[in-house]
């Protein structure tokens, strides 16, 4: 325990050290005009902009986070539901998978115009787009998890008269949880991308929309802020899922890190 705390503190120290060096180098090269501000703004300029436009940035960030969470929850729930439907039926998997894979192989920018045509460019359309981008990894890993059970355990229980419903909910679902979370963690990071792209291609809210405007204006300060904020959102959501996983499936956590 002690050793663990120490290494954690050391990691934090190394992180701050690394960040300080990066920021110092960045500030040094941009402040004196070695790199012109319209190519790369200085950290101090970015910081000033962050304070000045705090309200605007917060409002758009909030809209984006809502889109991400809404779409991610919808996509993940749909993936889990479909996985439960597909796990017992090999033929159904072979029937459904090609379409799911085909859908996922399409760049989301080709799908977005259709979604915007059908549902409009509001919040619900963006949620659907995020759901589409975040649905696939969870589906694949959850199906795998539901099928990849300890067959000896299933046999022990079946011999004692366990029904297939019992095996599904008391054995397959718990053993699939680690797989489910592995997929969901990949999906949540994809959801951030999906949300920003959706906002760029429709509607007038969110960090993606703000990024589009800022691109037209060559407003590199704001573009940088958006990049950093998006990264932080993705990181926090990833870690949040890790926290939930530790609560829901603690037996698996001991051996894993991320």
């Amino acid at each position: 325990m002690m050793a663990h705390d120490m290494s954690k503190r050391r990691l934090l120290l190394l992180h701050s050290f690394l960040l300080t060096i990066i920021l110092a180098l960045w500030q040094a090269t941009t402040h004196r005009g070695i790199i012109p501000f319209y190519l790369l703004p200085s950290p101090s300029a970015v910081l000033r902009r962050l304070v000045v436009d705090a309200d605007l940035l917060l409002a758009h960030s909030g809209a984006t986070v809502a889109t991400i969470i809404g779409g991610f929850v919808l996509g993940t729930a749909a993936a889990a539901g479909l996985a439960l439907c597909l796990q017992g039926n090999r033929a159904a998997r072979h029937l459904v998978y090609p379409y799911v894979i085909a859908l996922k192989s399409l760049p989301i920018v080709l799908i977005i115009p259709f979604v915007n045509l059908w549902i409009g460019t509001g919040f619900s359309s963006r949620v659907v787009i995020v759901a589409l981008t975040s649905f696939f990894p969870t589906l694949v890993t959850t199906v795998r998890g539901l099928l990849h059970v300890d067959q000896d355990l299933v046999d022990v229980l079946r011999v004692r008269g366990a029904t297939s419903a019992f095996v599904l909910f008391k054995v397959r679902v718990p053993s699939a949880l680690p797989h489910f979370f592995a997929g969901a963690k990949v999906a949540v990071v994809l959801a951030v991308i999906g949300a920003l792209v959706a906002e760029m291609m429709g509607g007038s809210r969110g960090l993606g929309f703000l990024a589009l405007i800022s691109t037209y204006r060559l407003d590199t300060d704001v573009l940088l802020i958006i990049s950093i904020v998006s990264a932080i959102i993705g990181y926090c959501l990833f870690r949040g899922l890790g926290y939930i996983e530790r609560k829901v499936a603690p037996w698996n956590w001991a051996t894993l890190e991320l």
Binding site: D152, L153, D155, L157, V159, R160, A162, P174, A254
Partner: protein
Amino acid sequence: MAAALQRAVITATDLAVDVRLNAIRTVRIVTSIDLVVHASEYTVLMGPSGTGKTTILRALCDCLSLSASVTGTAWRTDDVAVVWQRPALMPWRSALSNVLVEESLRSAKGSLADRAQLLFQHLYLRGIESKSPAELSAGMAQRVALARALAARPAAYLLDEPLSSVDVPQKEAIEIWLRDFVLGESSGVLHVTHDPYEAVFLADRIYVLGGTPATIQSTLTINAPRRNAAFRASAAFAAYVAQLRTLLPTP
């Protein structure tokens, strides 16, 4: 023997198991197996590793893989419990909760808490009730798996090397208790092992498996009314072990 008057709980008649390797090749693992286990009878299935002891056990409880096919009859009572070589516990449940899983399988039995407590005591599992399977040693996990089967109080047991990871003194103590416990409840046991000492100590009858495909090459009946430390130390025990060794195929 009194056992002859009891009803059979497990029977195999002219049992053979074929495993399909690919579209054209099928290999016969075991053939012409005839065995019977009556209620209140402890039988042991012995043989070298890889002969097909586990295959017979799996055929008897319908747990073979899809590539295997069974001919002849493999019958057992519906009320049977198995222990595999691997403990196969639920990692998300505590040791005690794993043993109590039977409560949610056959509702009529009610609470098994008292029985579980008794089993934990006799299998030297006291104090680990709330531990998760990941925290258990191999020997402990194996005893929890045995406790899970015993908790069900079935009419028949199929045990596949249930004590292979348990240390010798503990194993010998458990053997003394186990035999009396299951026979006292009129259950029949088919116990797979490759340890001749374990086989002689526990069994009323030992089936020795050998050959390719494997068949039952000999049957040894152990006549000893009391199975205790004195029996294990006796000349009769040593003689039975020596006799059993002559029946086992040489490597």
